[in-house]
């Protein structure tokens, strides 16, 4: 399935507002949330895939309404609650001076040490492939606007643990990732797009299969 974070090809968010160059953080909240997020990952309480999944599965109307860095903070709160460290009500109690007790001293093992054997590569550079549509709920890294589209593999990017499985705590399933190039005129159904192109990294599990051109043997 797709959530509101899967933004490619949507409209209604207004023009881009640009900011001057030269600042890493645009507000004190931004700086503080970034520090917390990275600090918790360094301390073993957070992981990238789980964190992305937590942000993406925020209630859709909250996701749409809040922006960075608040969505990140809400995602962090959610992830720490799931791991039993900061539970619902803890921050309210702490703001009244009451420290929660009985919290785990160490983070749970998040990414397993052992990995399943890597999935063999089924495609190669030059192959034309059709992108799948997926109905599974939860985390995935497949842009909505590319589902069902056909593109050409332009690079092989090696093996990467499948994020859908990592985020859902289903173990490490390394699989090939490809850069797939799409023609904008096909993706958007507009012949006036000339030779404009879009490339994305596509996990092998998101590829339905090779496209056999008509007339090919």
């Amino acid at each position: 399935m797709s959530s509101l974070h899967n933004l490619g090809g949507m409209q209604g968010f207004g023009p881009v507002w640009t900011v001057p160059e030269g600042k890493a953080f645009h507000s004190e909240d931004d700086r503080r949330v970034f520090g917390l997020m990275m600090g918790m990952m360094a301390a073993g309480w957070g992981d990238t895939d789980g964190f992305r999944a937590a942000v993406e599965t925020l209630p859709a109307l909250i996701y749409a309404r809040e922006c960075f860095p608040m969505n990140y903070f809400l995602g962090l709160e959610k992830q720490l609650a799931e791991r039993g460290l900061i539970r619902p009500g803890d921050l309210e109690a702490w703001m009244q001076g009451v420290k929660p007790e009985g919290r785990p001293a160490k983070p749970p093992r998040i990414v397993p040490a052992d990995s399943e054997p890597p999935e063999p590569a089924r495609f190669a550079v030059g192959d034309r492939v059709k992108i799948a549509t997926i109905d599974r709920q939860g985390h995935n890294r497949l842009p909505g606007y590319l589902r069902g589209q056909a593109g050409t593999i332009t690079a092989e990017r090696g093996l990467v643990d499948f994020p859908d499985a990592l985020a859902m705590r289903e173990g490490r399933r390394p699989q090939p990732v490809y850069t797939v190039e799409f023609l904008a005129r096909e993706v958007w159904g507009n012949p006036d797009r000339g030779d404009d192109r879009i490339s994305a990294e596509i996990f092998q599990a998101y590829i339905e299969g090779a496209v056999v051109e008509e007339g090919a043997p």
């Binding site: 490619g8 968010f13 890294r141």
Partner: protein
């Protein structure tokens, strides 16, 4: 925690249904409370947090990327190495490493302009460009960079000729793209440092072009 509690718990006095439309109030207070609570629990150390923030504020940033671009403009051999093996070429310049990111350089040419986006979140080449600008993470940029890149470029003041194609790179896995912009005309006599001053952050994202030489 019972299943029933799972569905009925309050978030800061809000019912479950309200939580789906209204975020907890006073988020700024909650951010500070979470930080002080994690410190009190001994989970994080304030000095560690300061170190992390300082690293991303002062040691990485687009000036690193600008040095890479300037070197590539000035040294054709370096440019070849950079396009063939970006990680090794970047290491030559002594940049701090950031694990997990695989930088790929994409070269602008007279025929094709490239730009990067992460439609799903905010993937960005931290090692060479630092943290992404706020608009890179915005719904406005992420939604339209893939569907209407020429309109988005106009909002950045870049009006591409129709004959030049646009290639958009959506970072959806571990690859982190960085644009190698074209060297501006009239910069033949400039030193590498002077060239680096012409390389803007946006020119390495593909939403801008390098500055021209000062007259």
């Amino acid at each position: 925690m019972s299943a029933e509690h799972d569905h009925d718990h309050d978030h800061d006095g809000h019912s479950h249904a309200e939580w789906h439309t209204t975020p907890p109030p006073d988020i700024q207070l909650r951010i500070k409370a979470m930080e002080s609570l994690l410190v009190e629990m001994g989970v994080i150390d304030p000095a560690t947090l300061d170190g992390i923030v300082d690293f991303y504020e002062r040691q990485v940033g687009p000036r690193n990327g600008a040095r890479i671009v300037a070197r590539a403009w000035a040294d054709p051999d370096f440019k070849q190495r950079l396009l063939a093996d970006p990680a090794a070429a970047v290491a030559e310049l002594g940049m701090p490493g950031i694990s997990g990111d695989h930088v790929v350089m994409v070269e602008n040419t007279p025929d094709a302009h490239n730009m990067i986006v992460c439609t799903l979140c905010s993937c960005y080449p931290w090692q060479t460009l630092g943290l992404p600008p706020v608009w890179f993470k915005s719904a406005s940029y992420r939604s339209r960079a893939v569907s209407h890149p020429r309109d988005v470029l106009k909002e950045f003041g870049v009006d591409l000729p129709a004959a030049m194609s646009v290639k958009v790179w959506d970072s959806t896995a571990d690859t982190r793209y960085m644009i190698l912009p074209m060297r501006p005309a009239g910069t033949e006599g400039l030193t590498e440092d002077q060239l680096a001053d012409l390389v803007t952050r946006d020119s390495m994202i593909g939403t801008g072009l390098p500055l021209g030489p000062a007259r």
